[in-house]
């Protein structure tokens, strides 16, 4: 099946938020803090400027609580007495002319008494830099299994490594945008680019002190999210709504690229320390892991990112003794937020680099090292979760090796590297896994609901709050319902994600849309059949006829099949001890990169890339393949070129000229293969797939670079991005 909204996007007729013309709409904009930390003494509005044309909002205009509703509500909507990072919004403006807003922002200046800022999350803060609890630690989580101390005492080898990953920008091609207006009844409507409409509802209720009945959130077609439109749209929605409230007119805020890059969330920078006890054969005896992530100035989602990160930090390997300590630290930066992979890419980079490090130290082949340790059915992961899904992870790795031509290339490279004056080739692999859906009891707390309505013309309408952000939700939900009820795609309507019409089926994050919400589509279809008095396996025209007949019998009434999430049996998770089944199921993958490093420029080129994964049932091959390919290229960017340059906690390369993402010329075709092992609790047997391609490329590429440069390295490629400048510093002293 082709992408449902594909032609609308190809012809440019799809209407994103910036494409909507809203009568009487003002443009909104924010005036932001120029300093990383300080006490606001005064805000100056230039005297010789006509402010009467502007709507001006500050924290005193917030009718509800001056907090962005999230895990801990520590982030103000607008800074009141203090600022915690550069670019923190303090004052909002609206005006009919966008250019006038840009002028006016420059007419506002701030009198701020600076305070010592914490600008390096890796350093223990000084007393003056403490801003959260007693130590600037937002969250401290740990996983323990077995007896790590004892295991280290008896171990023949103990191998350590430190690994660092940098911040990454989402670079969704559509910048953040949101519009807000109040109707005559005082109902607030907010429409824009977002992943999670009900997150936005909650944020608006909290900040504007409105009942849920007076808040309506509509998702516009969204030009990419990657996590960047999970949390941040709540902020933007509050800004637009506050301006609309004061103006009593619609207000739209569309970030331009510079503002978007400077002021919105990014992937958490992270540092991981691994200390591993191994036997002579390279079998993992004990793993001691510390993961620190940079949370930025406010808590936001950092504890959850950290949680997923530490749960995945020990890798897809069997090890009896594991201790993982994780900390999320405050720094005076724009808060780091959700980004595809959610802590796992950082953890996987460290683990898979460390596996190569162990192998190299012991003189064991990197593949063999993994073969000896990959988790087999019946063995348990670090949380004690026993894996028993029937997937052969060693066979999966072997398939990837075969498809990539691993053995042949290794031989060819040895000869090539001996003779070429300045090019060096290498190969690297990474074995990765990713828990599908929310962590632990997250889905139970969400208790997502989804509706499938039978319409009077016999079609059905899926009503969910899950959003199409490019990943293919519209197409996949159509396919799931069409498969379940034996209907043609045209007989299936997907309701706009409008919270006045659709129930809360949960956020569009963590690859839960297809697997979890898709399953709710199936269950709501079953409920619909039940209400029609049809057998549970009835399909096709009989269903259509029954729906039209029902409407003839019940004119003007709604026929709605409903479903609510129920946890599959046998899943046990303890949030306090971090023990048990962290996820209902996992996707498994082996990724292999082949690279070439040019010693003249220290530039790395990915020659080819193979991604082999087991993700349950593949519902739509084109869409699934495209997700993997896109994720891999985003991963290649993170590994090799994407670097956020921070000064005083603010990104200073906030232009696409200076924040470099891969072009079509920078990447090879990405080879993708799927193994299918249906997961009984996922829609049509599907598991999550969107994060794996972000987890695997960086370690595979760094391992390949290490292989290519083996004898030349004076230091290991354990920090990414591996920019040419960094590779030069690893290979040989400049001006030797």
């Amino acid at each position: 099946m082709r992408r449902r909204e594909g032609l609308a996007k190809l012809t440019g007729s799809e209407k994103y938020i910036d494409d909507l013309s809203i009568p009487g709409c003002l443009w909104g904009m924010a005036a932001r803090s120029p300093v990383p930390r300080g006490i606001i003494r005064q805000i100056h509005f230039a005297k010789d400027f006509n402010w009467s044309e502007f709507v001006v909002v500050d924290h005193r205009d917030i009718p509800g609580t001056n907090e962005i509703f999230m895990i801990q509500n520590d982030q103000p909507v607008l800074a009141a007495d203090r600022v915690m990072h550069i670019h923190e919004p303090v004052v909002l403006l609206a005006h009919p002319d966008r250019q006038a807003c840009r002028h006016a922002i420059n007419q506002i200046s701030f009198d701020i008494d600076p305070l010592p800022a914490a600008l390096d999350y890796r350093k223990v803060p000084t007393t003056e830099q403490i801003q959260y609890a007693s130590d600037n630690v937002f969250a401290h989580l740990s996983v323990t299994k077995g007896d790590v101390e004892q295991a280290f005492k008896d171990a023949p080898h103990v191998i350590q490594g430190i690994y660092e990953t940098g911040a990454q920008e989402h670079v969704y091609l559509e910048n953040q945008g949101m519009a807000a207006w109040f109707d005559d009844q005082g109902v607030l409507t907010v429409q824009g680019s977002m992943q999670c409409p009900y997150y936005v509802v909650n944020a608006l209720k909290h900040a504007l002190k409105l009942d849920e009945s007076r808040v309506r959130v509509i998702q516009s077609p969204t030009g990419g999210g990657f996590g960047g439109k999970e949390d941040y749209p709540s902020n933007l929605a509050c800004y637009a709504a506050l301006l609309a409230l004061k103006a009593q007119q619609p207000v739209k805020i569309i970030y331009d690229r510079e503002e978007d890059l400077a002021a919105t969330t990014k992937r958490h920078p992270a540092r991981l320390k691994h200390r591993t006890a191994v036997d002579d054969q390279g079998r993992l005896i004990a793993q001691d892991i510390e993961m620190i992530i940079d949370g930025g100035a406010y808590v936001t989602l950092s504890p959850v990112v950290l949680s997923r990160g530490i749960i995945h930090a020990a890798g897809p390997y069997a090890c009896d003794h594991v201790r993982i300590e994780g900390k999320a630290m405050l720094s005076n930066s724009v808060p780091f937020g959700a980004f595809r992979g959610f802590g796992v890419p950082q953890a996987a980079f460290a683990m898979e680099r460390h596996m190569d490090h162990i192998a190299r130290t012991l003189g064991i082949d990197a593949v063999e090292m993994r073969r000896r340790n990959l988790i087999r059915d019946g063995q348990s992961l670090s949380t004690g979760q026993v894996i028993n899904d029937g997937t052969d992870r060693v066979a999966l790795m072997d398939l990837a090796l075969k498809e990539s031509g691993w053995a042949g290339h290794i031989k060819d490279h040895a000869a090539f590297n001996q003779t070429h004056p300045y090019l060096r080739k290498g190969m690297g692999l990474a074995c990765i896994y990713h828990g599908s859906g929310f962590t632990g009891s997250g889905e139970v707390h969400l208790a997502s609901k989804l509706h499938v309505a039978g319409l009077s013309d016999g079609r059905i309408e899926i009503r969910s709050a899950n959003t199409e952000i490019g990943q293919g939700m519209l197409t996949v939900f159509t396919r799931i319902a069409s498969h379940r009820l034996g209907l043609e795609p045209e007989q299936i309507v997907i309701a706009e994600a409008d919270t006045s019409r659709v129930p809360n089926s949960g956020p569009t994050v963590a690859s839960r849309t297809t697997m979890v919400a898709g399953k709710l589509v199936e269950n709501a279809c079953s409920d619909l059949l039940d209400q029609l008095g049809l057998p549970v396996h009835e399909t096709g025209q009989v269903v259509v006829d029954a729906i039209t007949a029902w409407h003839l019998d019940n004119p003007g009434q709604e026929l709605v099949g409903t479903a609510q999430y129920r946890q599959p049996p046998g899943i046990n998770w303890d949030d306090k001890t971090y023990k048990g089944d962290a996820y209902g199921t996992y996707g498994w993958a082996t990724y292999i990169a082949r690279v070439q490093v040019d010693l003249r420029t220290c530039t790395t080129t990915v020659l080819d890339f193979h991604a082999v994964q087991e993700i349950g049932t593949v519902i739509n091959n084109t869409l699934a393949t495209g997700q993997i390919q896109g994720g891999v290229v985003q991963g290649i960017g993170w590994a090799l070129m994407e670097e956020c340059c921070f000064r005083e906690g603010a990104m200073i390369n906030n232009q696409l000229t200076n924040y470099i993402i891969p072009t079509a010329s920078d990447v090879p075709g990405i080879s993708v293969s799927f193994l299918e092992n249906p997961y009984e609790h996922g829609a049509m047997g599907a598991k999550g797939l969107g994060e794996l391609p972000m987890d695997g490329p960086a370690p595979a590429i760094a391992n390949a670079v290490a292989d290519a440069l083996s004898q030349l390295l004076i230091d290991q490629p354990d920090t990414i991005p591996l920019t040419p400048e960094r590779i030069m510093s690893l290979t040989t002293p400049i001006h030797a």
Binding site: Y172, R257, Q629
Partner: protein
């Protein structure tokens, strides 16, 4: 010669999507803004405002250009084509092959592809990937784009069947 010495609107005439158009514009107005906010042709997207991403690619006198880097008042007498001029029947391969995901880069991609399709000689010296390097995409990893365009090109001109060497 017209020498506008203030910010008064300038009236210019051009051909837009094969139709003559006379329009009064602020001299500082970018083509991108004229298309989107004056003419309601919102298919052309703003991705970066600095000529990096290509989301605003249009054809000016049959050549691809970024509409964020052109002032409308520079276009007197020129021929401009936007995504709105594209015949939907030419898009089925791109639809089939996953050329679009989130859709924000897509109109720019389609316009650059349209130019390549109309001028297939340009592939003699530069690869399709090189020619498409002015269109950043964050969703597809470019495979779906390259494949969709290749199939479209081959349908237009099967004699010079084109294949990405990678």
């Amino acid at each position: 010669m017209s020498t506008n010495t203030c910010t008064n609107p300038i009236t210019i005439s051009l051909t837009l999507n094969s139709k003559p158009l006379s329009i009064a514009v602020d001299p500082a107005e970018r083509l991108l803004d004229t298309l989107r906010y004056q003419l309601g042709l919102t298919g052309t997207k703003e991705g970066c405002a600095e000529g990096e991403c290509g989301a605003c690619t249009v054809l000016i006198d049959d050549q691809p250009a970024n509409a964020c880097l052109v002032l409308t008042c520079q276009l007197a007498g020129r021929f401009v084509r936007t995504i709105e001029s594209i015949n939907v029947d030419t898009l089925h391969h791109m639809h089939e092959q996953g050329t679009t995901q989130c859709g924000a880069c897509t109109p720019g991609v389609v316009m650059c592809a349209q130019w390549i399709n109309e001028h297939q000689d340009v592939l003699k010296h530069q690869s399709l990937r090189q020619l498409m390097s002015g269109n950043l995409c964050r969703c597809t990893g470019y495979d779906g784009i390259i494949l969709g365009i290749e199939k479209t090109l081959n349908e237009t001109n099967p004699a010079t069947a084109h294949k990405d060497p990678r």
